[in-house]
Symmetry: C2
């Protein structure tokens, strides 16, 4: 029943928090340093606040300087005490802050929660101002590309399971981009802003992007042309090997490191059986400032049939990369914790699933209820309550209609509508015989089961794995 | 592995959202009415906003007038566009708004999410300004007390499973309180504020509460005394029956309805096997304005041994009740959807669990990993990656150390520390023989398992139910 799932979620939350808190206590001293920094802000609050041992606030400063040109989309807020706050823009920066404040050097976790962007919403493409992200990150000092490969494996695993059609994961490396900018002649000070321009190549043509680089950002046209020769290339591991032979690029230390790591990454992805989903794409740049190594982005591929129809236009559905410097920005002593992770855009995926289901006219089952406890005659509410309590106590997900004397037909109809596979029917004769009639909703078959065997029989019949449609 | 749990959560979110959106589309017209109301606020935004079909905002007005005297704790915010917003105070009011805007007349759901209160935090008692609530609610027009009884069953089920010690659920009914106030001579206009005073009886003595009623709120002392005679009573179903005989109270229509429902509720709770956890307590009032019928609150009981130590002092850990008027406040035509539900204070419960574990020096397992894929010699990273990929694809929760050549001892130690029960060890000999060595971390026993049987063997050995400690 619903209580069970809620409980499991609670247990999970608890585990995470116990770990965090223990660490917090052990490092109360370090936290005091943070407290000092925030005292100016806290002074605006009541006198009681000064006594607290823990820093509870994540004020606006936490978010500034991490998102590059996207910073304008941060939702700034001022509370009735005049304190400057912001709503979180993503789950990555808060995760890095959490690691630094709790001195965690090593953790693997997922997190599903809401984030906020003060952007123009576009409902049909699943773009909202308040939306869910599902993040998975691995933090810690490890041997190269092993956690990175796991992130890509998870991304492919999730996207495959959701049955949203064929997809491709574009992969690149910030060091290759930086090396490329250097050998093409981009001044150091323009690396980030030119990176933002390159990032637009998934939506704009090369001509448009070049115009922005030259016209708006003052890059020399010949420099832009050299960039153009590189960023229009994409391919598999063979492109990595080809660029490792590139006379200019292979002379750049940064680019060489990036290419070496990508080669290793492709080896691991082959072993994980997902190399065919991956495309090394030199135009992939990712706008956010905090990436330092491998970056990736999953895009859906349209089948020829779909391409003829209205395009879905959801753009990327998942993305991420390596950010080795972010945790250090929050640590008073600048200690680094290398991280790699991914974010999945939940609403974007939902909008695709919804369109697909609408096209197929399929029904989504919204509950996990295994059995409806029903009655064949009137005046059996007490018996239904007693039986459902037995089933709940045994861990069965059971429901009943909240009516004193529901008609059997209505009870069966409810199961059809909500996709409940089994009905446990109580009748006067069954009570006398010590049995329950167990009905399969799909086949309409009914069998008498001895009451003491009912739990096992329901478990046996509903042990199939979870299905989303 | 972690991707699987995240996926299941995604699937659940998706189901909820698909249901919501379908309803939304069917009722686009009704939503237009809401749009009109909000146009004044929306006018402050850019011209693009006017084109939207859906109302995305839940501005400050949504929250005002629902929480009584607690309204002062709402976190008001103003964004950089000057729009007035608030952070949600609980999950109940947003749930009611969601039902009204989507014209849902009937739903059962749980929701775990953060809420915000601009109160004085108290870390040791698990009181924060940002905290999690876990809510469960049943909305719809049903026969009396069946969903109410289910809510109490779920509350008891969750609190029992969390092993936080013995607890008691206090139950009362707003109609009994109102009837009692009426026959005691409280003026109609003072019902809500006197209700707030009564609600303080769990922390303050009767004398203090009486002083507030008479001194601050201007109640006649003899009226307060009459209230005192009632609110100091508590008991089981026999107290309900006794009050049904009370010559004054039984003459009040409201009180009579409340008492009749409580009697029925006790019958159902008996069938659910939880009547011994329930206490009818006339001092329970619940501060929030929106309750209309049965109300309840779970408090932990201290054992004699605990009472001698530092008191835990977490107060109530779960509470709720019936709120039949709240959805109607958000419906343009005032159509009502009766609701009953409960909230669990997640951090309060965590603080108790943490104290208990600290006292027992127990370790909390923070992952669900079933098996670690390990190697006995060097140069087996590729084989580890291949095997873990096979296990992940078969739905096994598996991990490996992110090192090229980890020592076997370190791999075993990692399992001990993180509570992973099994190790699948690859060695050169095992590869030749087509087997994997499966080691039980607890017993240190090792058995060679044929590679094709490994998934089944791991599933068989790790099919025990979830345990929180």
């Amino acid at each position: 029943m619903a209580g069970r799932a809620a409980l499991e979620e609670l247990v999970r939350l608890q585990g995470e928090r116990v770990r965090g808190l223990k660490q917090q206590k052990a490092n109360a001293e370090q936290i005091e340093e943070e407290v000092a920094k925030l005292l100016k802000l806290k002074a605006q609050l009541g006198p009681d606040e000064g006594k607290q041992k823990f820093v509870l606030k994540t004020p606006k400063e936490t978010l500034t300087g991490k998102y590059g040109e996207d910073s304008k989309l941060i939702y700034d807020l001022k509370d009735q005490g005049g304190e400057l706050l912001s709503l979180r823009y993503d789950l990555t920066v808060p995760f890095a802050r959490y690691l630094a404040m709790n001195k965690l050097t090593n953790i693997k976790r997922y997190h599903i929660a809401k984030v906020y962007r003060r952007d123009n919403p576009a409902m049909t493409r699943g773009r909202y101002r308040e939306f869910y992200q599902c993040d998975f990150d691995i933090a810690g000092q490890f041997d190269p590309m092993i956690p990175d490969a796991e992130c890509l494996k998870i991304m492919c695993e999730i996207l495959s399971s959701l049955q949203i059609g064929d997809f491709l994961v574009k992969v690149n490396d910030r060091r290759i981009l930086d090396g490329m900018f250097a050998i093409c002649g981009v001044p150091d000070s323009k690396f980030r802003t030119i990176c933002s321009s390159v990032d637009k190549l998934d939506k704009a043509s090369w001509e448009e992007v070049k115009n922005e680089m030259v016209g708006e950002k003052g890059l020399a046209p010949e420099v832009a042309n050299r960039i153009g020769d590189y960023v229009q290339q994409h391919g598999g591991v063979s492109l990595v090997e080809q660029l490792l032979q590139d006379p200019k690029l292979s002379q750049n230390k940064q680019a060489l490191e990036g290419l070496g790591d990508l080669k290793l990454l492709f080896e691991y992805l082959m072993l994980f059986g997902i190399a065919d989903k991956i495309s090394f794409d030199l135009s992939l740049a990712r706008g956010l400032d905090y990436y330092t190594g491998v970056i990736y982005e999953a895009v859906l591929l349209q089948t020829p049939a779909q391409a003829g129809e209205e395009p879905l236009g959801v753009g990327s559905v998942a993305a991420g990369g390596r950010y080795d410097g972010l945790v250090g920005m929050f640590d008073p002593k600048g200690r680094k914790v290398p991280c790699v992770g991914l974010s999945i855009g939940v609403e974007r995926i939902f909008s695709i699933v919804e369109q697909r289901l609408e096209a197929l006219e399929e029904k989504v089952r919204t509950t996990e209820t295994q059995v409806l406890v029903a009655s064949a005659q009137k005046k059996l509410l007490e018996e239904r309550l007693k039986l459902i309590s037995e089933l709940w106590d045994a861990g069965i997900k059971a429901e009943l209609l909240y009516k004193k004397n529901p008609k059997l037909l209505n009870q069966l109809q409810y199961c059809e509508e909500s996709g409940i596979p089994l009905v446990a029917i109580i009748g006067e004769q069954e009570l006398k015989d010590g049995v329950i009639k167990l009905r399969s909703v799909a086949s309409r078959e009914e069998v008498d089961i001895r009451r003491e065997d009912l739990v096992e029989e329901i478990k046996r019949r509903t042990s199939q794995p979870l299905c989303i449609c």
